[in-house]
Amino acid sequence: MSAMGKWMRIVAILGILGIVAAGCGGDDEEAAGDFKQCEAGETDGDLAFFNWSEYMDPDLITAFQDEYGVSVTEDFYPSNEEMFAKISPGGTGYDLIVPSDYMISILIEEELIQPVQAEAVPNRSNIAEKFADPPFDPGNAYTSPYQWGTTGIGVDLGVTGTDIPHTWGLLFDADIAEQYGLDGRISLLDDPRETMGAALKYLGYSLNSTSADEVAEAEAVIADAVSRVAAFDSDQYSELVVAGETIVGHGYSGNFLWDFEEGESEYTYFVPDEGGTVWVDGMAVLADAPHPCTAFAFTNFLLDAQNGAQLTNFNWYASPNGAAEEFIDQEVLDNPIIYPTAAAMERLEFIEDTGEFEIEYTDALTRARG
């Protein structure tokens, strides 16, 4: 038969095969509520830990390994969405993940994470009251808070001078870019909710907007800015500023502070006046985790007062652990970037799951990036 005919045949067979095979596959159901019960300090094998990059103190990992006699394998992700994409097919072998607030709501609804077992994590009593009953996970039924922080802009003041407007316009506005020579020296987070959120705040809307018009406007803002943006990056936003590749970077508080120490210029980080995100990351054990008890033991370990403080002293994000406060370095506690003042907190919003609308954010950012 002709070559074309042969190929058509093959494609048709493939399509049919795929649909048939697919119909027969996909049979992994978890009986709800049928999770393995663990006791405090019990471990059941090595831990597979899936976390954001540069978020965990290696010394804590070593300490945990020594104390419990298990080994910890770490893998990293740069955004909630990528983490979700990796774990949602199931059977990935990860035990513990660290999703952000809105993603936790999604994970609970998708039944991808299992409830926390209170007996296995007695240190939960250390959690500060403010974080004990968050809207995205009532009563902390599924997660235990890990760190919290803000998202804002890091700026190389050595280049721009100290007199800069504290606005998201530094990222989006063409005039400001021209004024301070920012063209091609801007980086944005590669994160639908954060980046769209920044644009929404810039326009004066809520970053949890479910209005298609508002989101469309935000999309236009970003699309307009793309030509001035060097990169969409959720990994090296701070390194780029310190290296001089970018002048302003959109990113998270702790990472900026950390990398500013390495730099030679004068830097600052702030949440713009229009407002921004305050986020809480939580530790969650996957529903199909192969070693849930070790995961709970690790959660408990991190909720210990001193360990929690060590974590904050390491990554310079704020700790939701009330008992840890006395062990945290004073200079960290006093730093308004890490622990914003009450007035500053007023301007900040938590990202919330917008239900059916959620995927619109992702699609809008994909379109805006071009």
């Binding site: 042969k6 095979a21 597979a48 899936f50 394998t73 059977g91 990935t92 072998g93 090296q236 390194e239």
Partner: protein, 285 residues
């Protein structure tokens, strides 16, 4: 085809001659300059890349000390060895089946065998990701195979594309062989297996080895497919380095890169030497 003397008339005279030479030299420089720069800067005693600050072996020491990198090298080597072994066996058998026999379905097999070569690696990566996520539970029934956290997915995927490369090389070799030796063997009452072992195999060995070396290179080189199917803690070196590269330039990445480049270049040279050695053996016969 006339070579040698006639060719010299093909070379242009005058100005074009030097233009041509200059151009060729420039292209070779283009090929190697970045590699040379990379090598040079991997010895640079500075955190920034671009200003020379003194010679140091520190980055190579860090490369050796870095546990994650060492682990991923080990993963790469294991995956490479397993997948090459399987691909060579299956690919050679397939090549023989296509070149030396006639059977029903041959054309279809031939066509399917070409697909992994031309398929874009992103599509292949996506295919394997989807496939494994949908069928993981079935595979886990096979004793000894744990698709979740093992190197199985990597090995399976690598074999899938390497079979084609191995078979292309072996087929090319088979096609150039003189089958009269094999006919002579069967005239001398050798059965098929004996003929294969004593006559065919030695003759196609350079092709098999060539195919194996290609499979090794491709397996070690592969980034996109591997990054989609690697499991917990089973990250091959190329994927790990890709992650590092995306974080930006750093001298540590430079030293890792130089090591990887040296390894792949060594393979290339080795394969060329082997093919030249065995090739010239044949010509002498």
């Amino acid at each position: 085809m006339s070579k040698g003397v006639a060719k010299s008339t093909a070379e242009p005279m005058g100005a074009s001659r030097w233009l041509l030479r200059g151009h060729s030299a420039a292209v070779f420089a283009f090929f190697y300059a970045p590699i040379v720069v990379l090598c040079v800067f991997s010895f640079n005693d500075s955190n920034a890349v671009g200003n020379w600050n003194g010679f140091t072996l520190g980055w190579y020491r860090e490369f050796l000390d870095n546990d994650n990198i060492q682990k991923s090298i080990w993963v790469s080597v294991k995956v490479c060895l397993f997948s090459t072994a399987i691909a060579v066996v299956l690919g050679t058998a397939g090549a023989l089946a296509l070149e030396r026999f006639r059977w029903w379905g041959q054309k279809a097999f031939d066509a399917v065998l070409y697909l992994p070569i031309i398929i874009p690696d992103v599509t292949m990566a996506v295919m394997m990701l989807v496939f494994f996520s949908e069928t993981a539970s079935w595979f886990n029934w096979i004793p000894g195979i744990n698709v979740q956290d093992g190197l199985e997915k990597l090995v399976f995927s690598h074999v899938a594309f390497n079979i084609s490369f191995v078979s292309v090389v072996v087929r090319a070799r088979l096609a150039n062989l003189d089958a009269s030796m094999e006919e002579a063997a069967s005239d001398l009452y050798a059965n098929r297996w004996q003929t294969f072992r004593r006559v065919t195999l030695p003759q196609i060995m350079p092709g098999v080895i060539g195919g194996a070396l290609i499979a090794v290179t491709i397996s070690l080189d592969d980034v996109v497919v591997s990054s989609f199917v690697s499991a917990v803690g089973g990250t091959p070196l190329s994927v790990y380095v890709f992650g590092m590269l995306r974080k930006g330039v750093s001298p540590l990445v430079n030293s890792v890169s130089v090591v990887m480049l040296a390894a792949s270049m060594a393979f290339v040279v080795a394969s060329l030497v082997i093919s030249r050695a065995t090739g010239s053996e044949r010509e002498e016969r």
